[in-house]
């Protein structure tokens, strides 16, 4: 009689399947029910049949693995791809840029046309499918690893060719879901990539790899255990008869003695057995093929051993009743291997009822069918060329742009300090401030200022720049500026500066005063012969609009025929007045009278002929003039009463702006 205790094992399988289904939300497909279809466009579609619960039945419901990696598309069918080359008018050295933006969205999944074709193939039972098979959709997949979307490209992995690459990290798990890849390519990177897909090439230097995992149910192990109870019983009866003949009523020994005791002996004399004793009985039954174990497994051998052990433990539980030993002894090696947590060895007593009922069955068969849900990897790889041909003539997708939008232009207002003025920062000038304004029609006027001082000269040189953003301002008018100088002695000049019209080229900042190095020379022998001990040059000039005086002495005894003196005169004057004052060792000061000098900074102490001739009238005149020489103020300023420059207005003042 063949008895199947399938319900026992089905319970196990059910529990197992429950565990697996709850541990993963993915559909589970049957690994043994796979179809590989080739569509008219050459696309190969791999499909798996739905896994049937607790059955080997092949389902006609199929799911497809990720396929047809392609560019995403907008609702108006425009491919979601952009390759935009850009360049500025300016060279890179001048702040210009050039390169390209690459941006694309990708998705996978059967197109409506492909899906229809697959459905038809399945329904008609073509290419290995059974008739009336159905497409249920895409298989549930999950990304394989943390970076399941990979860009394979020499250009995009080169930091110089593609300074920035941004991408989705995970492959999309649903058909139609999109992932993005974007890059800002350098000019060379753009040209290189463009060369690979704009010219007639089979592929470009850009492939996309998506890594997925899907769950499939595989027949991991199939087992069958046939217990031939008739043979077992026959053996026991033979052993029993043999024993009765030899030993009479004494306790039975031998391998099956324990079982024979349980079955045929006195109940009161049934003795407990150790684990190893019971184990050896089952091993012997297997060896003699009273218990026949057939096992097909698709997994490694060591795991089959565990399954065999599970069967052994199953029989152990069925055949015996166990309890703690009277004496606490350590478990045997075999017992410990079977029950790792056991502390002390157990005693086992054969179960008379089990054997009695089993012997009635004659033959008993156990089936075991393990199916495992395992994850398998799957990659989907495609090259940009397969998509690019469809977009290369689409102006919405591929284009160029000359970046000359004036909105983004900046105009530099350059201010250059006059070279002469640099010298004056140590002597006369503290700093100069430049205010700039540019009126915009939008009302948001531009106002800025910069200050040039000694630190600026040291760090940045003579040039200062203010940047002006053009934005929406279309006015062609230039900006206006005003300058104000801070001068030695706390002078601010001018106090109320005027706005002047600027120039886009640059403006030069001239200080209001200019340096003049006056050279004063005399014939020392001549002066000495005349009894003159010192010749003093009195200089009168305009400085910040006021008349000032500077004296340049030349002492005969010092034996220096030429002395130099720097003075600073207003920029808008072109000359100065001077007077030679001779100091006679007996007659005192002799003022020779004022004269003017235009654009000539060399003065020679010419001795008038009258003086050489000792003309008494002339001498009286110059001695008298020498007596009324007034000293200027500490800052060289000359009082109004002592002013003389008005007399030279025609010469000095005429050029006064």
């Amino acid at each position: 009689m063949k008895t199947k205790i399938k319900h026992v094992l089905k319970g196990v399988i059910l529990l197992y399947l429950l565990i697996n289904f709850t541990s993963s939300d993915a559909q589970i497909v049957d690994d043994t029910n796979k179809l590989s279809l080739t569509l008219k466009d050459g696309t190969q579609v791999v499909l798996y049949g739905e896994a049937s619960s607790l059955s080997d039945r092949k389902s006609k419901n199929y799911y497809y693995l990720p396929v047809s990696l392609r560019l995403g598309a907008k609702p108006d069918k425009t491919p979601e791809f952009l390759f935009l080359k850009y360049i500025t008018e300016e060279k890179e050295a001048n702040g210009g840029i050039g390169g390209a933006l690459l941006h694309m969205l990708m998705e996978w999944g059967l197109t409506p046309k492909q899906q229809k074709e697959v459905e038809q193939i399945l329904a008609k039972g073509e290419q290995g499918a059974r008739k009336k098979s159905k497409l249920k959709g895409a298989l549930d997949v999950k990304p394989d690893g943390d970076k399941s979307l990979r860009i394979i490209s020499a250009t995009l992995t080169d930091g110089k060719l593609a300074p920035s690459v941004v991408q989705s990290l995970s492959a999309p798990v649903l058909p139609g879901s999109k992932v993005a890849v974007a890059s800002n390519l350098s000019a060379n990177g753009a040209q290189l990539l463009a060369a690979t897909f704009e010219k007639t090439r089979s592929i470009t230097d850009l492939s996309i790899e998506m890594g997925f995992k899907y769950t499939t149910r595989i027949p991991a192990a199939k087992g069958r255990v046939i217990v031939n109870w008739s043979e077992v019983k026959k053996h026991f009866e033979r052993d029993y008869a043999k024993y009765e003949e030899v030993r009479g009523k004494k306790k039975r020994g031998g391998l099956f003695g324990g079982i024979a005791d349980a079955l045929f002996g006195k109940r009161t004399e049934v003795k407990s057995r150790s684990y190893d004793e019971v184990r050896s009985v089952i091993d012997h039954m297997v060896e003699k093929e009273y218990i026949k174990v057939d096992f097909d497994e698709n997994i490694a051998d060591d795991r089959v051993t565990k399954i065999r052990e599970a069967f052994f433990d199953f029989f152990l539980q069925k055949m015996t009743e166990s309890g703690d030993s009277d004496v606490l002894t350590p478990p045997t090696e075999k017992e410990k291997a079977a029950m790792p947590n056991i502390k002390y060895g157990k005693k086992y007593t054969y179960n008379r009822r089990f054997f009695e009922s089993s012997f009635k069955k004659k033959t008993e068969t156990y089936y075991l069918n393990y199916r495992l849900a395992v994850e398998k990897p799957f990659t989907l790889t495609a090259n940009l060329a397969s998509w690019y041909n469809g977009v290369k003539n689409n102006k919405k997708c591929v284009g160029t742009v000359l970046m000359n939008d004036k909105f983004f232009t900046h105009r530099d207002i350059n201010m250059i300090l006059d070279l002469e003025a640099k010298e004056m920062f140590d002597k006369e000038v503290n700093y100069v401030t430049v205010n700039v304004k540019k009126e915009r029609k939008s009302g948001k006027h531009f106002n800025a200022y910069t200050t040039i001082d000694k630190e600026h000269l040291k760090d940045s040189g003579l040039k200062a720049t203010i940047s002006y953003a053009r934005g929406n301002d279309k006015s062609s008018e230039v900006y206006q500026y005003q300058t104000q100088w801070s001068l030695k002695g706390g002078n601010i000049y001018p106090k109320d500066p005027e706005w002047q019209e600027g120039s886009w080229q640059s403006i030069t900042l001239f200080p209001p005063i200019v340096p003049r190095t006056i050279e004063f020379e005399a014939d020392l022998e001549e002066l000495s012969a005349l009894g003159v001990v010192r010749a003093t040059l009195l200089l009168r000039y305009y400085k910040f609009g006021e008349e000032v005086e500077t004296n340049v002495p030349l002492t005969v005894s010092k034996d220096e025929p030429l002395v130099e003196k720097m003075i600073f005169t207003d920029r808008n004057t072109q000359g100065y007045a001077y007077q030679l004052v001779l100091t006679h060792k007996e007659k005192g000061k002799m003022a020779l009278g004022w004269d003017d000098k235009i654009n000539d900074d060399y003065i020679y102490a010419s001795i008038p002929q009258e003086l050489k001739d000792d003309d008494p009238d002339y001498l009286d005149k110059i001695i008298e003039a020498g007596k009324v020489i007034l000293k200027p103020g500490a800052d060289g300023k000359v009082s109004k009463a002592a002013s003389i420059l008005d007399k030279f207005k025609d010469v000095i003042g005429i050029v006064k702006n």
Partner: protein, 230 residues
């Protein structure tokens, strides 16, 4: 019974975590079939179980090649370029796949029927397991080009376990390497014959030498000469 269920579940859970399985082939049922392109294909019968007889046959991974685009052009590109200074560099990019074409599958089916009978069903290439030690395309061989490509690789794709699925590789070569590869390709030199591109798999067999299931490492490789000239 509770105990049995307990043990069984334990084992099942062990299996669950250890498990990664593929089709199992019967090592005793091996057939060699020569296709019309002169390639020799190894075909195995699927390993049956104690209560079933299989008539399914699978081939080992074969026909490693540059994949083709929709225009049937090989997906291989070697682009050399010069910068403004005249220095030349190169970018190499190719896609590869393995597996039989539809016509080759039909050819194998016909051959199998002649060998083992009309009941034989050729199911195509096996879906092997990945060899996790080498899960990307390998560049191997004694050719000096091996070092050049290995060092200039910027990305190497994963080995596909499904026939006719693709994998991609890209390389950026410097001036000297570009010249070497360019010359080798232009002159079809011997160096191309000793550079192999390979994919490594694990195939599960049953029967023959060992009891139970055992894993066999399987390497599918083709030299660059054949890839470029076929």
């Amino acid at each position: 019974m509770k105990s049995f269920i307990h043990y069984s579940i334990q084992i099942l859970l062990i299996l669950l975590y250890l498990g990664s399985n593929a089709q199992v082939l019967d090592a005793r049922k091996e057939f060699s079939i020569v296709l019309s392109d002169s390639t020799q294909l190894k075909v195995f019968k699927k390993a049956g179980s104690f209560d079933e007889v299989s008539d399914e046959y699978y081939s080992l991974p074969s026909h490693l090649k540059f994949s083709v685009n929709q225009k049937k052009e090989p997906e291989f590109s070697f682009l050399t370029y010069s910068d403004r200074g005249g220095s030349q560099s190169g970018i190499l990019h190719f896609l590869m796949s393995w597996g039989l074409s539809l016509s080759q599958r039909k050819e194998v089916q016909t051959a199998l029927e002649k060998i083992v009978g009309e009941d034989a069903r050729f199911m195509g290439s096996i879906v092997p397991e990945l060899d996790n030690t080498y899960n990307t395309l390998q560049i191997i061989g004694s050719s000096p080009l091996v070092d050049i490509l290995s060092e200039s690789a910027t990305a190497i794709g994963r080995v596909p376990t499904f026939s006719n699925s693709k994998t991609a590789c890209s390389f950026k070569l410097d001036h000297n390497d570009t010249e070497t590869l360019k010359t080798a390709i232009a002159d079809n030199t011997e160096d191309l014959k000793t550079l192999f591109l390979s994919m490594n798999f694990i195939i599960k067999f049953k029967g023959k030498h060992r009891a139970g299931i055992y894993d066999e490492n399987y390497q599918l490789k083709t030299n660059l000469f054949e890839l470029l000239n076929n």
